[in-house]
């Protein structure tokens, strides 16, 4: 019975059933499953599979986006239960598109994928000034800061944001990850970020890896 309820959630997310996904979560809650099990074994499991299918070329951005939207719809039902039962997030992320750049679709997909991996994500939106990243880090104490840019002309704002975190004395507290069309691994290294991901699926893998590094360091 429990397995069937989880399968229904898994399938709804995998199939991108946006209207149907919330009901599968409600059914699982009504069937006595706890919020954490629903999150981990239903939703995160499904988004992990979506990521794998994208990586191997069976799913395309359209399918990945649709699954992410179905997951968002399901999370609306689950989120209050997660808070009530004080389920620990995988990690906390502050994310935004950097100053001068208003392109947010890639960033939004990364946000949804990170939420699908159990992260608590604070999305600052697009065209975000370095000082707003600093303020958000001071306020929510994230594990990770994720920066997005679409343009070669706005990517220097990533450097400015990393520098602002350093100046504010916050750089050591967080891992910084970057993504977007004009940037790469080399650029991440150049500006003193901790990692680069080439798409939303790999952003999740990178976030998980950075969380591990962080855990090892503080252990």
């Amino acid at each position: 019975m429990q397995e069937e309820l989880l399968d229904a959630i898994f399938d709804a997310v995998m199939d991108g059933d946006i209207p149907g996904a919330p009901a599968t979560v409600q059914a699982a809650l009504d069937g006595g499953l706890d919020a954490e099990t629903i999150l981990r074994d239903g939703m995160i499991a499904a988004m992990t599979r979506v990521g794998e299918l994208y990586e191997c070329g069976d799913y395309y951005v359209a399918e990945m986006f649709t699954s992410a939207k179905a997951l968002q719809a399901a999370l609306v039902v689950l989120r209050p239960m997660l808070q009530q039962s004080q389920v620990q997030a995988t990690g906390t992320v502050v994310i935004g598109t950097v100053k001068g750049d208003m392109h947010d679709i890639g960033k939004n997909l990364v946000t949804m994928m990170l939420e699908g991996a159990g992260y608590a994500v604070h999305d600052l939106g697009a065209d975000v000034h370095p000082s707003r990243f600093v303020a958000a880090v001071e306020e929510v104490h994230p594990d990770l800061v994720a920066l997005s840019a679409l343009l070669t002309t706005t990517m220097p704002s990533m450097q400015a944001t990393v520098d602002a975190l350093t100046t504010a004395g916050l750089r050591e507290r967080v891992k910084v990850m970057i993504g977007g069309a004009p940037v790469n691994e080399e650029y991440a290294e150049h500006i003193g970020a901790d990692g680069y991901a080439q798409d939303a699926s790999q952003a999740v893998s990178l976030a998980n890896a950075l969380m591990q590094v962080k855990a090892q360091r503080s252990a």
Binding site: V61, A62, G100, T153, P182
Partner: protein, 412 residues
Amino acid sequence: MNARERVLAAINHREPDGIPVDIGSTPSSGISAIAHYNLKHYIGRPDWPTQVYDVVQQIAQPGDEMLDRFGIDVIDIGRAFDDRPEDWYDITLPDGTPVQFPTWFKPSPQPDGAWDVFNENGVRVATMPLGATFFDQTCFPFIDGYPDSYADLPQIMPLIHWAGLTHSPWDHAGDADFWEQLRARALALRASSDRALMIVVGCNLFEWGTFLRRLDNFLVDIVTEPAQVERLLDALMEQHLKTLEKVCAAVGDVADVCRFGDDLGTDQGPFMSPKTYRQLFKPRHKILTDYVKQNSTMHTFLHSCGSIYKLLPDLIEAGFEIVNPVQTIARDMEPVRLKAEFGRDLTFWGGGADTRFTLNRGTPAAVKDDVRRNIEALSPGGGFVFNTVHNILPDVPPENIMAMFEAIDEYR
């Protein structure tokens, strides 16, 4: 061979006497106003005007002297419009670069430094935030859902900045004698220039869905609401075919290349599966290319950014002869691979110089290596027109543009 013969030989898969070169024949194969300004000063021609003919992307129209200086083989019919000094006015871009805008384009500076654009009804249709160098779309008419009727689609389309703030010749499309003017001016251009002529028609399908619904919504729609998507595409096709009918009648025997657009790829792969492309877009693309082939002597050209390797067999069947910009650093888009697999069927118009890393931030020597490598992979047997991978962006140093042309000159 003259310039036009060189381009046509390449498209017909015969090796021309030298590599044909395009910089500026379309708004996605040109040079940004800021890069143009920097280049003209670097080569000691500050007298060249920097005329921003595509205001959305802030792209400069290369003047006749620039075409001659760099041996450019193809031009946009649009350059035959806005050809009087009074069609332009001087303005300084937010970064301090002095340029010229068409007189109809009047952005409004905002307190936060952004430049906004409002249409005649006061609707904000585009914005360029401080620090950015082109305008983004701000109005998404169908963001809340699909309309019951598409009767007013022609009135809605100009709310999209790409259509409402469009480049020449289409900025004159509302003139009473536009189609007669288009033919007359194209013929005059043909008589005065031996370069190949391009007409940019767009007729985008997937992209119009993203313009009207916004990309994130339309991506979901093509998976979950194909019937609604097909209704929209049919309404768009009606408009596109009307345009093509007039274009073919006006310049179908004058222009050499008819440039369609539809960005189907991301860096990592197509937005959609080949199956979805086949179901929703391919049959309609085929209708558009068939119309051009049956009613003109123009060659069919598709501009699609990103990794489209997986769609190329279907795009060939859909009737496209030329693809651009050949985004060589995207997944599966290595020039050697593309030439080997699709070189017999397609002309690669682009892929000549990487405009994301090498041209922007590489050394002149690295630029030359990149250009030589790409030309040697793509040009054997024809089927190649040199073009940068998309526009030369504002951050490209003039030294690198010169290095690019020096490397091209080794092959012509």
